[in-house]
Homo-oligomer: 205 residues x 2
Amino acid sequence: MTQTPDAGGAPKEDGRRLRYRHRREELRQAATEHALEHGIASLSLRTVAETAGVSHATLVHHFGTKERLVAEIVEEVLTRAFSSPGLVAGDEDPLRALWRHATSERGLRSLRLFAAVTGHALHDQPELAAAVRRSLDERTALLTTGLRRAGCPAAEAAPLATLALGAMRGLVADLLVTGDRARVDAAVEVLLADLARRAATWRAP
Amino acid sequence: MTQTPDAGGAPKEDGRRLRYRHRREELRQAATEHALEHGIASLSLRTVAETAGVSHATLVHHFGTKERLVAEIVEEVLTRAFSSPGLVAGDEDPLRALWRHATSERGLRSLRLFAAVTGHALHDQPELAAAVRRSLDERTALLTTGLRRAGCPAAEAAPLATLALGAMRGLVADLLVTGDRARVDAAVEVLLADLARRAATWRAP
């Protein structure tokens, strides 16, 4: 693995460091927009560099490899799709808020790319699998912890988190493919009702 | 749309017709194996023709366009993943049988390709979306009918079918990405338990 800070032309002074950190975030955003617009099938450090108006060397300096850049794009699109003010602990129905946020226009645009990245990772671009796996593992762990905090028994938490995220993932795919929002939203309500029924037993005295 | 039977060199006699029908099925299988092996990102009528050892014209004669060929590949991989003797009506737990069949080595190989096709359809190859949508609509309709026959109220059937298939789709993706079979199987058991609890109310006197 290339250590980015040691790659050619690493910044030495604090001022440059700050500027480079800012530049890195800018490039990450530009790369994500590039992928949302053009997909990742033909994405390369060179095409992203051209779009962002920087040299190939600059992009290598900041991200090392195409795989690392795609990993950052995956994180960025999932953050855009799932970060939601409604997801703080104690919110009345965090999973419904998650669904609403994920299936907004902005959320779906990101999840469409995530589905494409997953498809590539599973078939013709296995080098992307690590990034997809890490994002999936992290989100499962996060919801498992949330369920435990809500009183879910230890043995149930991971299966429930896996089911809730898996169902949402599959239902987003349905919505993206069919556009049939009424049917898919009704399915989410069934899922949420079943989860609520289980949660009610945790709170029982 | 190209009408295959009217394309150049259409067979006239019964004997040739039969041979061509047989040949078409052979080509469909060869194209599916090609896609399973190499993915569909680079699939073309020409590459499939080369692998199958037939002329480009023969493949055009049988399938018309690349999109139609991919639609047939999608149908073939879903048939391989989901056709199961356990799925006949009256089987004790048809959804568990479906899951076991879909997550066998053969089933997962097919579903990996289906995930890739869905990814392409959603992003860089929108011309594949119709085939994916048709397969999804058909399976939702099939399970909706099955649930209605099992006594599920009309208003619940489509949402439940959508949820069950969506959850399985998302959980297959989890399994393909993480390989964590124990956690994913446990999630399926939660899904099946919740469905069974609902089904029990349908059979109540």
